[in-house]
């Protein structure tokens, strides 16, 4: 597979001795959406800013499209789009003017630019707001403008740094679908977030970061194999007698049983038909329950497994 980005042994220290990114190596392949998943301060933005030559770094090498990346690599830069974590637009320019300004840094031809801007506006769904100033947009619409400014010039490689922070679920779905569309149109995408649901639905490959180190990498399924548990069953049941908890833990395949806040949580390391066994047990013991459902482990469980702490903050 063709490597679009090749990072080798990247180390970045802001203050002497404290490594924000520690000896990190990663590849991004053509046409994929790579997710960088990690909690706050794990080094996601730092990694991206180093790749973009916005930051200098203590050690390592960075190649993009097979060429060494440095601040003067204008030919590489012309193929890149970046959606920064903080909304960065001009307050004094309208939605359309902002897009025209930023797109104009890449596309000189006015007619082509106009077409590109219209495409971007449509992609993020801002058609009705072209003449609005950023101050007149809601937080979610502003995020969409921020995204449009980063991608209007139809770059081949796009970085998204937590583009959906503070966006409601519906807008978030729109944004995620838009990103998939960009990938389907041939772009390669690097996507950072600390929402595991997003990487699970969006990303072809995931890298889990913590404290500047890569903990694990692979597809969502591959990563889940790292979790020791195989299945999680949740039962909502009121006032369960303690004696049942012991009985449940003796059932087949059961690993750990916890009961708190009227919720019974049972994890399994392996096994089939766990949920029907459980339903039968509840029935046999005449235990009344509101809800019962089974889940596969999430990336949060993987993270918990690898670091002993929750991914969520």
């Amino acid at each position: 597979m063709e490597k679009v980005i090749e990072v080798k042994d990247l180390t970045k220290e802001y203050n002497k001795g404290i490594k924000a990114v520690d000896n990190l190596s990663l590849n991004v392949y053509k046409g994929e959406i790579l997710g960088l998943l990690g909690p706050n301060g794990s080094g996601k933005s730092t990694t991206i800013n180093c790749i973009l030559s916005l930051l200098n770094y203590s050690k390592g090498s960075i190649k993009i499209f097979g060429k060494e990346m440095n601040p003067n690599s204008y030919d590489i830069k012309s193929q890149i789009g970046v959606v920064f974590q903080d909304v960065s637009v001009f307050d004094e320019l309208t939605v359309y003017e902002n897009l025209d300004y930023f797109c104009g840094l890449y596309i000189k031809d006015k007619k082509l630019r106009k077409q590109y801007i219209e495409d971007a506006i449509e992609l993020v769904g801002l058609t009705e707001f072209k003449k609005y100033y950023p101050k007149q947009l809601s937080g979610g619409l502003l995020r969409r403008l921020n995204i449009a400014c980063g991608i209007a010039h139809k770059p081949k490689l796009i970085f998204f740094d937590e583009p959906t922070v503070a966006v409601d679920p519906q807008s978030r779905n729109n944004i995620l679908n838009g990103i998939k569309k960009l990938r389907d149109n041939g772009a390669t995408i690097v996507y950072t977030t600390h929402y595991m649901e997003e990487v699970e639905t969006l990303c072809d490959r995931i890298i889990i970061l913590d404290k500047g180190n890569i903990l694990a990498r692979g597809t969502s399924d591959e990563l889940k194999e790292l979790a020791e548990i195989e299945e999680k069953i949740t039962v909502e049941v009121n006032n369960l007698d303690v004696k049942y908890i012991e009985k449940i833990s003796e059932l087949k395949n059961v690993d750990v049983v916890t009961y708190s806040a009227n919720t019974l949580l049972i994890t399994y390391k392996k096994g089939k038909n766990n949920i029907s066994d459980m339903v039968e047990f509840l029935k046999n013991n005449k235990i009344k329950y509101n809800k019962i459902f089974s889940e596969r482990p999430t990336l949060n469980d993987v993270f918990l497994e690898l670091t002993g702490k929750e991914l969520r903050d």
């Binding site: 802001y14 800013n49 973009l52 030559s53 916005l54 930051l55 200098n56 601040p71 204008y74 030919d75 830069k77 012309s78 890149i80 970046v82 920064f84 903080d86 909304v87 960065s88 637009v89 001009f90 004094e92 320019l93 003017e97 025209d100 300004y101 930023f102 104009g104 840094l105 890449y106 000189k108 400014c149 980063g150």
Partner: protein
Amino acid sequence: MFLHNFKYTFKTLFRNRGLIFWTVAFPVIMATFFHMAFADIIESDKLKVIDMAIVSNEEFENNILYKKTFTSLSDEKNKDRLFNITYTSKDKAKKLLEDDKIEGYLELKNNKPYLTFQANGINQTIIKYVVDEVHDTEKIFLMNADLDNSLGTISADIENYLNNNKVELKNIANSNLNYMMIEYYTLIAMTCLYAGCLGMVAIDNSLPYLKGNGKRITVSPTKKISIILSSLLAGYIVQLISLGLLFFYTICILNVDYGNHIGHIILLSLVGSIAGISLGVLVGAYIKASDNVKSGILIAITMAGCFLAGIMGVGMKYVIDKNLPLLNKINPANMITDGFYSLYYYTDFHRYWIDIISLLIFTLITIILSCNKIGRAKYDSI
């Protein structure tokens, strides 16, 4: 790229209400206030005759240049009369000053003029400028004099000079340039320096460690120098509009008469604006803080500069010139106001050109310092 960025920078600057208020509207409002405050003075339209004393010691009596100059400037028949002079002893002069009967007194001692004032104001400044001028003229004569020349020849020379140049010093009292002009001059100086805000905003937008927009520009395939130059040009054009408006408003609406030197005044304000913009770039490049904090710092620097240069009363300028001359030599506000004063007080342009050159040197140094910082910033931390 240059034009693209120029166009949009111009738009962003022009739509930035706070910025436009300080750089365009504020000077016009100030001019209006001056106009209202000076309405009475316009009525009388004459410079008052200044009361002063001269210690009539032997040295003064023997110094033809000083004696003649002050005699002619205090001649009651002279319609441009500037001084009302009491010739007296040093002790009596001191007493007069203490009793507020005079604005100040002059004493010649060891071939040097010594001025004593109690307060600082426009009158003291005028006295000082006249004395400075006479002192400079005297030095030139002494320098040109041949060593063999007897003192007599030198005094003949001086007498000759005075006969032919009488008009020059009298022009000081030229009645169409009146007291309130100085306030308008400092206002123009202030407007020039407020251009710094334009320079600062322009630079803010193109540096990666300052704002997200700067980061966007930095990751784009655009040469930073082209962005910076076109942004600064846009800032300068906005500044020209602001100056144009101020001149139009003061000349056409408030009927301010800038005298015969309008060309020099405009040139000085153009150069002063460049210095102002580069000061803003310097602050923008070196100080990492929020927009508001940075504008605050810049406005504080500008205000302090204007204060030291005499915007609140020219006396301050005199105090600094006397006690901390270096401070005013590096103060761009002072270079600008000093250039205006020199047009007001002198008929030759020597001092004016020195001020213009000082401003250009100031600009050059600020630009070198800023480039040094910006150049390093391009690949440094955000």
